[in-house]
């Protein structure tokens, strides 16, 4: 069975490979230095590293959508913003 029907492009393949890399990287990090119990962040939520990754990915999706809907500049600015927000989430949430 070929995969033509899935209509792959290198851009979307990179996107999914990056998510897989995040998940594998987080697993290796967890095995090397366990994150331990959830901690309470500035939002009052108890989060583990995995939760923080999920929140970061979801937030970055919304940042990109907001950029496409509201802003006119190049999309990589939204990507940079997402990285900054993700770092903040991992640090403080």
């Amino acid at each position: 069975m070929g995969l033509e029907w899935m209509a792959w492009t290198w851009q979307t393949a990179t996107f999914f490979i990056m998510i897989a890399v995040f998940l594998i990287g987080m697993s290796i990090w967890e095995m090397a230095r366990p994150g331990g119990d959830p901690r309470t962040g500035v939002l009052g939520l108890d989060t583990t590293r995995g939760d923080r990754l999920f929140i970061s990915l979801l937030t970055s999706a919304y940042i990109h959508l907001a950029w496409l809907g509201l802003a006119t500049g190049p999309l990589w600015i939204a990507t940079i913003l997402s990285v900054i927000v993700a770092v903040a989430i991992f640090r403080w949430v």
Partner: protein, 287 residues
């Protein structure tokens, strides 16, 4: 005592992972691929980047469907939650009639969505349906196939009929878990009926009501079959909510790029609500 780690358990979840991969992850990946391309069929695709997302986010059609979706969800929640709590409060706590009420409440939940849609379609027809004919006989102009207000009224009434029971059952379970001593203490203090509800019953129902609100939010946000069978999204576009619009774009117009971009935006909204649901439930359980 140290926990014994047994990684063989991972093999037990492998079948589920394979099923989820085949029926959820692979289609989702395909939708993401379609969302950045255009096609005229025959598996020939042209890369379009983020064009479809920009178009969907700027399209009045999408704004309209989203607005109708939120209006429908807000109206449904505003009616079903208070009504469900009121019915649960009025139900007997024990005995034969409690069982009768519970069975009656469970009945609408057992009926498949498309049957509910078909049932209400016939029930609300202005010429032969009991509801439609009755309202017109009373002098109230009603025709859900022609008037947007009538169509909305019917969709909301149908959802209230179908799903208020779920809120009732959850609220009833919450009420049943309240210890009798709270009521005795309130009686000794001479508390009014309202005070008992406000300071004993409502706080004790908080968690089940949170679940009820979020379940109803998600269900009504993804509603498709009932309004599709009842009104088909009409008259005009008046009851075309997000899911109906999505199917129109994907299957009616074969506009795969736009439909995929809409699907992803819709999926992200649902995902956010699911996450909120999960977080609130987990934090509630902990506290």
């Amino acid at each position: 005592m140290n926990k014994v780690q047994n990684n063989k358990a991972w093999f037990m979840v492998l079948p589920v992972l394979v099923i989820v991969a085949l029926n959820a992850v692979v289609p989702l990946m395909t939708v993401v691929n379609y969302s950045v391309q255009d096609t005229f069929g025959n598996n020939v695709f042209f890369f379009e980047g983020t064009r479809w997302f920009s178009e969907v986010l700027a399209s009045e059609r999408f704004h309209g469907a989203l607005g109708r979706q939120f209006s429908l969800t807000a109206t449904i929640l505003a009616i079903e939650i208070p009504l469900g709590v009121a019915i649960a409060l009025a139900m007997p706590r024990s005995g034969f009639w409690a069982s009768v009420c519970l069975v009656l409440m469970a009945l609408p939940l057992l009926i498949p969505w498309n049957v509910v849609g078909a049932m209400w379609n016939i029930y609300a027809l202005p010429d032969i349906g009991l509801l439609g004919y009755g309202l017109n006989w009373l002098g109230i102009p009603y025709d859900f196939t022609q008037q947007p207000v009538s169509a909305w009224f019917t969709v909301i009434l149908m959802d209230v009929w179908h799903w208020t029971s779920l809120v009732v059952l959850l609220a009833y379970a919450g009420l049943q878990s309240i210890d009798e001593n709270y009521y005795r203490a309130a009686q000794i203090d001479g508390a009014s009926r309202w005070a008992v509800f406000r300071y004993i019953q409502l706080p004790k129902m908080k968690h089940v009501l949170t679940i009820a609100i979020l379940l109803r939010f998600m269900d009504s946000f993804m509603i498709y079959t009932e309004p599709f069978v009842l009104t088909g999204g009409g008259p005009g576009n008046s009851t075309t909510v997000l899911s109906i619009d999505l199917v129109k774009a994907a299957l009616g117009e074969f506009n795969l790029g736009i439909a995929s971009a809409m699907s992803i935006i819709y999926f992200l909204m649902t995902l956010l609500v699911c996450w909120l649901f999960y977080t609130i439930t987990m934090q509630g359980e902990k506290s």
